[in-house]
């Protein structure tokens, strides 16, 4: 098993988020709001199987959805933001830092 660190970052304002890994719901939150001082709304750590995983992110409150596929081994870091009316993401091998 690997660890997927997901940071929901910019553009959230009292939003609902659903995150599924390989079709299974793994995270569901309401009222998610970006902390403007940091550029961070919510951090979560999710165990995922090694190998290729499919991550479905839905933000029903903004009627947005995106599916991301990534190769998982060890620790992966995923940043998710809402920018210009779309879900944008960054994948990194290093943790994101905030200040």
């Amino acid at each position: 098993m690997s660890k997927l660190h997901v940071d929901f970052q910019e553009g959230f304002a009292r939003d609902e988020i659903d995150l599924r890994i390989n079709g299974q719901e793994r995270l569901q939150k309401e009222g998610v709001t970006t902390n403007l001082l940091l550029g961070l709304a919510l951090s979560a750590e999710i165990e995922v199987p090694d190998g290729r995983v499919t991550i479905e992110i839905k933000i029903p409150t903004k009627n947005l959805a995106k599916t991301i596929s990534l190769e998982s081994s060890g620790s992966e870091y995923l940043a998710v933001s809402i920018e210009n009316g779309k879900i944008e993401h960054i994948v990194s091998q290093k943790p994101f830092g905030y200040a």
Binding site: D7, E10, N35, L36, L37, L38, G39, L40, S43, I90, S92, K94, P95, F96, G97, Y98, A99
Partner: protein, 756 residues
């Protein structure tokens, strides 16, 4: 809000050319004409290279301060200064001659309405060993030029004191950042080799930061303590920051080197902002920040970095300190200002790299803020830059987010006073008001000079124009309290004696109760929550004194019934009745009826007591009005006639319970309200020729106030009024405090006669 800042495309470096001295920096000087010494100009010239590695922004800006100068015979004058307003010149034109530099431009004021104004600055080549002098003139149509002679004070545009404390768990070298710009190989090829610290990074930005040489140690060894929350950081700041209790805003900030934040991904945090932004939610804002030393960014941190990782940690350490202090200067992150490509202390390296490729941030970053940020830092409106000024991310920030403009403070709301302050101007009240309870505050002026009697205007109600009030509502918005009426009247001077050793207190001060529930723009305290109130006193001549910041809370409705009543209560009719302190106008009848009903229903509460006093007040004088419009349209004369007789008996009945409610509270903060109510009742009793009852009420008031420690002169006036009740007579006034004022004047006369 229209920003006086033009776009930064005009930023350029103007080389000094054939003049061989640098003119940029901070200057300061008094007005020389048309009124010498009237005010002071803090001038910032940013037109040439004032410091190495420091870009030129090609701007001029300044702040005006009013000077309070009181002449003391045989001593130097007592001088203090009060901030008034700021301005900027966006595209100054510079002309160089062999012996002088002349700069001209159009002045844009940040707030208020001003006629078109032009600025001219002439700086002659300074003689060796003599400070550079700038002759400054402001010219606007229809008025004489305002001239200032300013002396160059510093190469920095602003000066900030920084107090830094360390948590014991991370009090290990290095506690403060130092880095060599060439230590890390990933850097711009043009990087000038130099050592950077917090002070140096800000000096290059145009701000002189002075870090306090001593650092408190916060013992964070409690076994159950793991990480910091924003609220805990703010709480520690309130204890540890020596400046916290002073008058804000001020150019001071507090930093803490701490262990770990609640979210360990956070390496630093400016925690002093609204809760909606993730801060501690306590005004004034932007006073403090923290850097979390146990963040993995700093795992390789060493005092003398040798490896690439160690150099990166040192670089990140400096970045975090400068970045967090930047938030205290009211900076948002770069991408929140629609500048994700900015090479700035306020961007994130990984965000920039995501757009441009790995390591592109550090390979391009020149250890500086971007141009817009430098303009804000050096030349932004003082309230939006200074710590404790405009709320973080509010409209005062140049790149404010949409719809945040309403959070910016109106002119004067953030005035501060420096120097030898001659007069204290105090705002206070009880700390808690029930929902819908009329909010009134005490305004007090007090002579602070040790040896000089001051003759000051005691009309403290904003209606007379000598006092301006600002109210910060629970949502952060700062409003100027505007009275419904503006009154023109002669000043009412009082001699305030110096409070020398051995002299009884009381004659050195004057207090007045002012109702501020309702004004020109409606109700000011109609939401539960915390309010801050601040006032400016414009005394005789050119005296200008800002008050303390007074905090009060308005409670939530204690019952569903009261909540429902709010719909009718927060209306024009009730508001005007509160403002007028009771009116029997047919147009306000609905409001007076509701207040009468509520005063009876909530008779045992302060809400009921205060409403009773207002309703009773409407009964103390006859009410005259004109008849309805005549049916004959040709008939133009409308006759004024008495609609209601005065009914002092009914007024007394109305306040019989109310006066007991206030008495039984035994709260010092209600002394003025109690005094007003008795003033009203004495007037009614005298109108009914019940002099003994009037005396009895005054004597009870005297004894009650004595028990709460009221100063002897106030007690003497009440006693004199009681003893000479026949001579006193009814005041014939309706406004509550006007009655007290007239009664006090009569009593003072009696006291003087007794003394003589």
């Amino acid at each position: 809000m229209a920003s006086p800042i033009s776009d930064s495309s005009s930023v350029s470096t103007l080389s000094p050319g054939n003049v061989d001295f640098i003119v940029s920096g901070r200057y300061e000087g008094e007005m020389s004409a048309p009124t010498a010494g009237l005010d002071l100009l803090d001038l910032r010239l940013d037109v040439d290279q004032r410091y190495s590695n420091s870009p030129v922004m090609n701007r001029i800006s300044g702040d005006f301060y009013q000077l309070n100068k009181i002449t003391v015979p045989g001593s130097p004058p007592v001088v203090s200064r009060v901030y008034r307003e700021s301005w900027i010149v966006n595209s100054p034109e510079l002309t160089k001659q062999s012996d002088r530099v002349t700069i001209v431009g159009s002045v844009a004021f940040w707030k208020g309405i001003h006629p078109p104004t032009t600025l001219q600055v002439v700086i002659k080549t300074p003689q060796s060993g003599v400070s550079t002098i700038a002759d400054v003139s402001f010219t606007s149509s229809g008025s004489q030029p305002a001239l200032y002679t300013c002396v160059r004070k510093s190469d920095a545009f602003r000066e900030v004191e920084m107090e830094i404390d360390f948590c014991a768990s991370v009090n290990i070298n290095p506690t403060l950042p130092t880095m060599r710009t060439t230590d890390h190989p990933i850097r711009p090829a043009s990087t000038t080799a130099r050592n950077l610290t917090i002070e140096e990074a800000y000096r290059e930005s145009g701000v002189l930061v002075s870090i306090s040489p001593t650092h408190d140690i916060i013992d964070d060894s409690d076994a159950q303590f793991n990480s910091w929350s924003a609220a805990e950081l703010h709480d520690v700041m309130e204890t540890s920051f020596s400046k916290i209790g002073g008058l804000w805003p001020q150019w001071s900030m507090w930093g803490l080197l701490a262990g770990t934040y609640d979210n360990p991904a956070v390496g630093g945090l400016m925690f002093d902002a609204a809760a909606a932004f993730g801060g501690a939610g306590s005004a004034p804002e932007r006073q403090g920040f923290a850097v979390f030393r146990k963040h993995q960014w700093f795992d390789a941190l060493k005092a003398s970095p040798e490896t690439r990782d160690e150099a990166a940690a040192a670089r990140q350490f400096l970045y975090t300190w400068v970045h967090e202090a930047g938030h205290a200067f009211n900076f948002l992150h770069s991408w929140n200002k629609n500048r994700p490509n900015a090479l700035s202390w306020m961007n994130y390296d990984w965000r920039y790299d995501n757009l441009h490729g790995a390591d592109t941030f550090w390979s391009s970053f020149n250890f500086r803020f971007d141009d817009e940020e430098l303009i804000h830092l050096r030349h932004g409106n003082r309230a939006s830059v200074i710590m404790g000024g405009d709320p973080w991310a509010s409209g005062g920030h140049l790149e404010s987010p949409p719809e945040a403009e309403y959070l910016a403070a109106p002119p004067g709301a953030l005035s501060t006073i420096d120097g030898n302050v001659p007069v204290e101007f105090l705002v206070r009240s009880k700390p808690y008001f029930e929902f819908m309870e009329p909010v009134s505050i005490e305004l007090r002026i007090r002579n602070l000079l040790p040896n000089l009697t001051l003759n000051l205007d005691t009309r403290l109600n904003p209606e007379y124009g000598g006092v301006v009030l600002h109210v910060r509502r629970p949502n952060g918005r700062i409003l100027e309290y505007s009275p419904v009426m503006c009154k023109l009247a002669d000043a009412s001077y009082a001699e305030l004696l110096p409070l020398s050793k051995g002299v009884e207190p009381g004659n050195d001060r004057y207090s007045e109760e002012v109702g501020i529930s309702y004004g020109r723009y409606g109700f000011y305290f109609d939401e539960p929550g915390e309010y801050l109130v601040r006032a400016l006193y414009q005394g005789a001549g050119d005296l200008l004194i800002p008050s303390n910041i007074h905090r009060l809370r308005v409670g939530a409705p204690i019952s569903r019934d009261l909540d429902i009543t709010a719909q009718d209560y927060f209306s024009y009719e009730v508001g005007m009745n509160l403002y007028l302190e009771g009116s029997r106008s047919r147009y306000l009848e609905k409001g007076l009826n509701l207040m009468t009903h509520m005063s009876e229903k909530y008779a045992d509460s302060l809400l009921g007591a205060k409403l009773s006093a207002t309703v009773a007040n409407s009964l103390t004088k006859p009410f005259f009005s004109i008849e309805d419009q005549p049916k004959d349209p040709e008939l133009k004369t409308l006759k004024l006639k008495k609609i209601y007789d005065a009914d002092p008996e009914a007024a007394l009945q109305k306040t019989a319970t109310a006066v007991e409610v206030i008495r039984n509270r035994k709260e010092k903060a209600l002394n003025l309200a109690y005094r007003q109510m008795i003033g009203q009742r004495v007037d009614c009793l005298l109108a009914l020729q019940r002099t003994q009852d009037a005396q009895r009420e005054l004597d009870t008031l005297h004894d009650d106030l004595q028990n709460t420690g009221v100063n002897p002169p106030v007690l003497r006036r009440i006693r004199a009024l009681s003893e000479q009740i026949d001579a006193a007579g009814a005041t014939g006034r309706q406004k509550l405090w006007e009655r007290v004022r007239v009664q006090d004047l009569k009593a003072e006369k009696v006291v003087k006669e007794q003394t003589n």
